[in-house]
């Protein structure tokens, strides 16, 4: 019979003290570590679940953007964009007036003074108003009609020299 110290004896055998845990043990562990999985996954932005606060923030952002967009569109109608497109609007409105309905006149903006147009009405019907605007454009100086003449005059002056 070999002689061994009692400490050595316990050391040799202690690693053999394996026992299979019950099935509930893993279920308890998994229940606790699974509850903490989403926090870590959220940082990786993988399989991210929407949070109630996130949904509220998204709705608030959407609402804010829509309000800003509506405000900008209102500004655009009465602001710089409206001024830039004023001639086109005048043409359209004047055409409507000339065609018929008085209800359209009521809806039209007052500052355009559609009921008593000065220049366009005196020149004829709706199709002629566009011509009148071209004339106004020609009055600016460089008209396509007078240009050849002026060129010819210049050439004549050059050749005359």
């Amino acid at each position: 019979m070999a002689k061994k110290d009692i400490f050595d004896l316990f050391r040799e055998k202690s690693d053999e003290l394996e026992q299979i845990p019950s099935s509930q043990a893993w279920a308890r562990i998994e229940g606790r570590i699974a509850a903490k999985r989403p926090r870590i996954e959220r940082s990786a932005s993988v399989r991210k679940l929407p949070h109630p606060l996130g949904i509220a923030a998204a709705l608030a952002l959407l609402l804010g953007l829509s309000v800003v967009f509506m405000w900008l569109s209102e500004q655009g109608q009465t602001g710089v964009l409206a001024h830039q497109q004023m001639p086109l609007e005048m043409e359209e409105l004047q055409i409507i007036v000339d065609d018929s309905s008085s209800s359209a006149i009521e809806k039209a903006p007052t500052h355009l003074d559609i009921t008593t147009p000065t220049k366009p009405i005196g020149e004829g019907n709706a199709s002629q108003k566009l011509v009148a605007k071209k004339e106004a454009f020609q009055d600016g100086g460089s008209s396509p009609v007078s240009r050849p003449d002026s060129v010819d005059n210049e050439n004549r002056q050059r050749t005359g020299r």
């Binding site: 019979m1 070999a2 002689k3 061994k4 110290d5 009692i6 400490f7 004896l9 316990f10 050391r11 055998k13 202690s14 690693d15 053999e16 003290l17 394996e18 026992q19 299979i20 845990p21 019950s22 043990a25 893993w26 308890r28 562990i29 998994e30 606790r32 570590i33 699974a34 903490k36 999985r37 870590i40 996954e41």
Partner: protein, 189 residues
């Protein structure tokens, strides 16, 4: 899959890898917990707490030293914490008398693993804890004293008393027939 790959997958919160890591180490770690605690239900409670901490603190494992040793240390700490909560370590005391333990009294040829549990269960909690930490975990008396909040001399005394009690138990049960005596004792209950 190597152990490093398994640990890395667990750090990425892979459920299958976590299950596999648990199944690999759980039986041995339950044996560790059981050495400190007499009731298997308590040992399993500690095992659950320990594995939760293993998974929660897996990033702190740097790869230095064996992973099993790292997990084992967590299980030992959890076992000691459980005993502290139960106030099971309060009765540790320092003995004044000196026991002369002759080496030829420490003689046994073989001891079955389950007999070790039977013998440990016969020890008072203080003896058992110091014995486990010193003999099976390789702690120094200074480390045991810090861990349990006792003096170094108390740690030494507890170890001597544990050894003496185990020798008596082995002699009384007429080892190697200890298993038969253990069965008789269980039947007698």
């Amino acid at each position: 899959m190597t152990e490093e790959q398994l640990i890395a997958a667990c750090q990425q919160q892979d459920p299958l890898a976590q299950r596999r890591l648990y199944e690999t180490h759980a039986p041995k770690m339950l044996g560790v917990c059981r050495r400190y605690l007499s009731r298997i239900e308590d040992a399993e409670d500690v095992l659950v707490e320990g594995f939760c901490k293993v998974f929660q603190n897996l990033d702190q494992y740097t790869g230095k030293g064996s992973f099993e040793g790292w997990v084992r240390r967590i299980m030992v700490n959890e076992s000691l914490m459980f005993l502290r909560k139960k106030h099971a370590l309060r009765n540790a005391y320092e003995i004044q008398e000196h026991f002369d333990l002759r080496s030829d009294q420490n003689i046994v040829a073989e001891l079955a693993a389950q007999d070790i549990l039977f013998l440990l269960d016969q020890l008072p909690t203080g003896y058992r804890t110091v014995f486990n930490l010193y003999v099976l975990e390789g702690f120094k008396h200074r480390e045991i004293a810090e861990e349990l909040g006792i003096s170094i001399n108390t740690s030494k005394s507890q170890l001597i008393l544990a050894k003496k009690r185990l020798q008596e138990l082995l002699l009384n049960v007429n080892y190697p027939g200890v298993r038969d005596r253990m069965k008789d004792a269980q039947l007698g209950k």
